[in-house]
């Protein structure tokens, strides 16, 4: 019995412990109230991998009234939809698990609603993201259903049987970095409920293209492709590659070889001529790559053009199309759009450079007007109405692919970073008085962009690079540039710079600038000269750094496969001599003495980390010199798991952080500047947050599952800056509440959280009418931010947020946020608007004065629970005004405020008296008295219109009277935070005197004429008419 009792007690204890642990685990809901601002850029957009478009009737009643609906699939930013021909776009795939799009296809029966999306881009460059299956929407993108093929990492094409779209083929390219048994061509004959694999070659060979004959859907072509990428090489081609044809709807397949190149083939791109499906084009990658054409459904082939603009980089350029009406007009997308008018014998390319971004991947030809084209490039979507001679860009697709991001200390501060194939850019985190538009993004560099760093000692210098460490310094004042890449001296080994070379400004000493090849370099003269601080810090494995041989069938060397290089550098913010370096081949090096000695700490990492794993980020702690966080990324060996470790003894022992809830390989980790337990982790599939030093992580859902490549925390503004490789930059403004959100608070029902002090700004907007077609990001709110945590959603009973001044008076009541987790709301810092005199005209003082800077109390009341906190409001010193001037402004506004309310009282006295007299006069038998009362009412009416404007029509002169003049003066003084002018002060005095006179006049009327009327009324036994008192007026509801 005793034993059972002990067991029972133990069981209860364990359940309790587990329950507490479960309660304290952070969930995504905790973070949800901290919204993120997406800043773009859309001005350069990003890689587009698929386009589908169709004309859709606006509704069933107007079948001929059609709009062009466009779907855009992107490299890692999901799917965007335009319902207005490309003027505006909205993301429709953001809630899905994967945002890398490989292929899309509209159902020809339901082009207005049914869209198939295959995830996992198939333009398999080094930086390509990953997918996870096939999706379908049946309501135009509002909802999505996963249709399977989850293990197929990349889907290259979806082809529907045009006569029976319940039969569809899915080209499963499969894994890029490893063997995979899930590759091959898949077929469904039941609308996607089930799939069978109808063609499979081997674990190295995927299906890269599929095309169904529109005239005879039993005829299907597909291209099988053997390919493999490693961290240091790419191989296109092999015995598995080949062109196949089925004549029985995909059940059996025959490999086509007649007239096609012999030897190993690479990637093959297919296109059938819609107007004559016997004509088939195939761009065949081989030792002698060329376009081939068949006029007999693939039985025989004729070699056509082998021009560079047709055969270039087949692994990356896999799109080709034939005009819907002309079987000889062929469009081939490579660096440029090449067009043939003679069945592929010759190609003209007039779209290279200039207005159209190079590197093309997706294409749509308008079936109604084939001159009308859409093209998807590495820099967004363009539209042509003259078959490619001129183009306009869609400027509202924020698909930018950042590699690294940084900030400066301007006010507003700038965010800067480099983009895949789109150079380097910077943008202010806010625009004074307005939103952040495309024009606010400024280009700072070219090529593929990576690190961009602003010099803190000489802020006119900004450093950027293009691929392979080609570092450049730009003077932002003069725009002169200087190449600053370190170069190997004679006798030294060739320097190896990563595709994405780290250029880092020291966090301990702003004079130090670092760059990494296989050696670590430091400059103390703004990049002019470099000092080598290390030996080769990599494995220096000569079998892994010969990109000259990379590419496979087609040699391809762009520095993307540079290997055995330094990839991440960081010195300790607490010790400039302590430098951590991570390499792409798995070395984690540390020097405690500014580079004199180095230790490879990877030897001490646990066995849970596969050796040789790419070190993606080193993050020395800002709180403890001996602590460092490191992320490792093993996806280049087909391992998509996150590896995140922490040492607290300079690398001798390591703890693996608990990343069970984390999806995607890890790119970056950052420790908060204030709370050492607050960590931010960026992976290939989103942003994660830990409140407990890495024991638990929760996904931050304010950013979709796009790759998070870099994260920074702005030390002055406390903003989290998140660089994604697919959706540009996001900013989570003010993470102060998160810093206070300790894990042990998660079980509290209501917790007040601090926010950063609010700088009170008086910035006016502008007048712009720029149309709807540009991406616009909001500037951060100027409101004072209030944050609190709710354990659960508040749904039943009252809840409110109150602001109290220093005297304890409630000066504002706000509608609260009620979500589960952190709530954040804004207070406009205004007092209640004044009561204004009744008038047929709106206006007269519609807003209250902005309160003075100071410390206010916030009180959150939820049923019986009350939480209080402080709200600090600061004077904006950047405006050049003293606090005394600000106070003078407030004082004048207060005088006007009281004047407006006093006028409202006087006017109300007049109107109430006027109306009462009119009504009571009708009930008086004595006509003389009635006339006297009506005359007094008339006098009051005239007096009213000396105080308040009479007219009320739009654009008409409203004959401003005292009420309107007061409002005008009030508005003028309120819009500028400095002292009022002498003229304004004089006017205040004059207007207040007028109000006082009006009040005295009313009192005099009450004391003489009205008293007389009341005496006469008394004779008839009637109650006297009394003047409205101030108390009665104040008791009336203002509005």
């Amino acid at each position: 019995m005793m034993q059972r009792l002990v067991w029972l007690v133990l069981l209860v204890f364990m359940v309790a412990v587990l329950a507490v642990a479960a309660q304290q685990a952070i969930s995504p809901a905790v973070l949800g109230g901290l919204s993120a601002r997406a800043l773009g850029p859309a001005t350069c957009s990003g890689r587009v991998t698929a386009i589908e478009a169709t004309y859709v009737p606006i509704d069933s009643a107007h079948p001929n009234d059609r709009r062009l609906v466009i779907y855009v699939g992107s490299a890692a930013g999901g799917v965007f939809k335009s319902r207005d021909g490309g003027l505006t776009f909205e993301p429709i795939f953001d809630k899905q698990d994967y945002l890398s799009i490989g292929a899309m296809a509209l159902d020809p029966r339901h082009q207005d609603s049914v869209l198939w999306v295959g995830t996992g881009e198939s333009n398999v460059r080094n930086s390509v993201s990953i997918g996870g299956g096939l999706y379908r929407t049946t309501d135009g993108g509002k909802t999505w259903k996963k249709m399977g093929l989850d293990s197929v990492e990349r889907i290259a094409k979806i082809a529907l049987n045009p006569r029976n779209p319940d039969t569809l083929f899915v080209a499963g390219l499969g894994a890029l970095w490893s063997d995979s048994p899930h590759r091959g061509l898949y077929r469904s004959t039941d609308g996607g409920r089930t799939f069978e694999r109808v063609l499979y070659v081997d674990e190295k060979t995927g299906c890269a293209d599929v095309a169904v004959d529109p005239a005879d859907p039993r005829v299907v072509y597909c291209a099988m492709w053997q390919f493999r990428r490693k961290a240091w090489s790419f191989s296109s081609g092999g015995p598995g590659s080949g062109l196949y044809k089925s004549t029985d709807g995909g059940t059996t397949w025959q490999r086509l070889t007649n007239d096609l190149p012999s030897g190993e083939l690479g990637r093959i791109v297919l296109a059938i001529a819609p107007s004559n499906p016997a004509i088939v084009y195939a761009m065949v990658e081989a030792r002698q790559s060329a376009l081939y054409r068949s006029t007999d459904r693939g039985q025989t082939w004729e070699r056509r053009s082998a021009a560079v603009n047709v055969t270039a980089r087949p692994f990356y350029f896999a799109a080709m199309a034939v005009d819907p009406y002309d079987p000889d007009r062929v469009y081939r997308l490579t660096f440029q759009l090449a067009i043939s008018e003679d069945g592929g014998k010759t190609f003209n390319a007039f779209s290279y450079g200039g207005a159209l971004h190079p590197d093309h991947h997706a294409f749509w030809i308008d079936p109604i007007n084939p001159q009308h084209l859409l093209i998807g490039t590495d820099g967004g979507v363009y539209e042509s109405f003259d078959r490619g001679r001129s183009w306009r860009m869609f400027r509202s697709l924020p698909l930018a692919q950042f590699y690294r991001v940084s900030y400066d200390f301007d006010d507003p501060y700038n965010i800067m970073g480099g983009l895949q194939d789109n150079g380097s850019w910077m943008v202010p985190h806010r625009v004074r008085g307005g939103s952040i538009g495309n024009c606010d993004w400024k280009s700072t560099g070219w090529g593929d962009g990576f690190a961009v760093v602003r010099d803190r000692v000489r802020p006119e210098f900004i450093y950027f690079e293009s691929q392979g460490g080609d570092a450049v310094r730009r003077n932002l004042r003069t725009n002169e540039t200087r190449s600053i890449q370190p170069r190997a001296e004679v006798g030294m080994p060739k320097l190896r710079f990563n595709w994405n070379t780290p250029i880092v400004l020291s966090s301990a000493n702003p004079r130090y600038l670092y760059i990494g090849a296989q050696y670590l370099y430091r400059s103390t003269d703004h990049g002019a000269t470099w000092q080598r601080l290390s030996p080769d810090l990599t494995t220096n494995d000569s079998t892994k750094y010969d990109p000259q041989e990379s590419g496979g069938v087609t040699r391809d060397n762009t520095s993307a496969e540079n290997h055995c290089t330094i990839y991440t550098i960081a010195d300790s913010p607490l010790d400039e001599r302590l430098i951590w370096v991570g390499t792409d081949d798995g070395n984690l090096q540390r020097t405690p003495d500014g580079g004199k000695t180095w230790t490879n700490c990877v030897q001490w990492l646990p066995r849970s980390l596969p050796r040789g794993t790419w070190v993606s980020c080193v993050e020395p702690s800002r709180h403890d010199r001996q602590t460092c966080f490191v992320t490792f990324d093993n996806h280049t060996r087909g391992d998509m798991k996150p590896y995140v470790y922490c040492t607290t003894d300079l690398g001798k022992t390591w703890t693996r952080l608990q990343t069970d809830s984390v999806r995607g390989f890890a790119h970056v980790i950052r420790q908060d500047l204030v709370n050492p337990n607050l960590l931010f982790l960026g992976t290939e599939l989103g942003l994660y947050v830990s409140l407990d030093g890495g024991n638990t992580f929760a996904r931050y859902k304010g950013i979709p599952a796009t790759p998070v490549r870099d994260i920074q925390i702005h030390p002055r503004e406390h903003d989290l800056i998140v660089a994604t490789h697919g959706r540009g930059v996001y900013v989570i403004d003010d993470i102060t509440p998160l810093r206070a959100m300790r894990a042990e608070l998660l079980d509290s029902p209501l917790v007040m959280l601090p926010t950063r002090p609010t700088v009170q700004r008086f910035e006016s907007g502008f007048q712009e009418f720029s149309g709807s077609d540009e991406f616009v990001a909001p500037s951060p709110s100027d409101d004072a931010l209030i944050a609190y945590y709710l354990r659960g959603r508040h749904l039943i009973g009252p809840m409110r947020v109150e602001i109290l001044d220093s005297s304890g008076a409630v000066i504002a009541t706000l509608p609260p946020g009620k979500r589960k987790g952190i709530n954040r709301i804004g207070w406009g810092m205004r007092m209640n608007p004044p009561r204004v005199a009744r008038s047929p005209n709106p206006g007269g003082g519609a807003f209250g004065p902005t309160v003075l800077p100071g410390v206010y109390t916030v009180r959150v009341v939820e049923g019986d629970r009350v939480a209080t906190g402080r709200l600090v409001i600061l004077h904006d010193t950047s405006a050049g005004l003293s606090l005394a001037e600000r106070r003078a402004n407030f004082s004048s506004l207060q005088r006007l405020y009281r004047g407006i309310e006093e006028l409202a009282f006087v006017v109300e006295q007049i109107l109430v008296l006027r109306d009462t007299l009119s009504v009571r006069a009708r009930g008086v038998g004595d006509s003389a008295l009635a006339q006297r009362m009506m005359k007094l009412a008339s006098t009051l009416d005239s007096a009213y219109y000396t105080l308040v404007a009479r007219k009320t029509s739009l654009f008409a002169d409203t004959e401003p009277q005292l009420r309107e003049k007061l409002a005008d003066l009030y508005s003028a003084i309120a819009s500028y935070p400095g002292s009022p002018t002498d003229e304004q002060e004089r006017l205040i005095g004059q207007y207040l005197a007028q109000i006082e006179r009006a009040g005295r006049w009313v009192e005099s009327v009450a004391g003489s004429t009205l008293a007389d009327v009341n005496r006469q009324l008394a004779r008839y036994g009637q109650q006297p008419i009394v003047l409205l008192t101030k108390e009665e007026f104040l008791q009336q509801s203002a509005y």
Partner: protein
Amino acid sequence: MKQTLSAFVIALAVCSTCLASDSSQVQKIITAYHHALGDVSKLRNLRSWSLEGKLVSSDGSWKRTYRAWFEGNKARWELVLQPGIVATTWSDGTRGWTIQPWTQSLVPQPLDAPQLRQVSWFAQLWHNDLIAPSPRTRLEYLGTEELDGSDCFKLRAYRDDGSVATYYTDPDSGLLVKVEIESELAGNRVRWEATLGNYAPVDGVMMPMELATSSGMILVERYRLDILLDQTLFAPPQENAR
């Protein structure tokens, strides 16, 4: 008992219009909703209702008296911009008008079709697909979806007028948290949504004392259910006595 039975009967009626595969889940959610509401028959048989309260800006700097009256598809709401200046929108069920004093005009302007539809959706807030379903409405359970940090049950109603309403209910209390209604009119998407909060009992029914609609946040101070309404509230302008 009567109330529970009534809720069950209605739930059954609702589920006759559901997809078979998810009908039991739809039924469970609706039963829970009815149970949470209290005397659901009061809403189901509701002929008219009104509310008074304040329309407030999200930053707390603006607060105005708001009044609304509803009877079937007929609706009227008034927003006191300033003493003596009232923005008004009303509908007699088939036509509608609005006076927007900030345009400096007090002449009633007719509502267009999308606006009329939105007015009607607001008017029918308590005559919704979960309380008083039309037999031609098809209800579908869409699983759960996170809304404001909590997973909510999501039901979608496909109505015979082509509009689609999506309802989110709180799994803990069963109460309605949000409703979104959408339809297409001449190629334009017409949407209306309301987020409901601060529930409190009113005449035996749990009513939201906070209604965040497309027009703003309404803090309700008073509901009145099944009252006799002056029909001039909804009359066309020339007959409108107010």
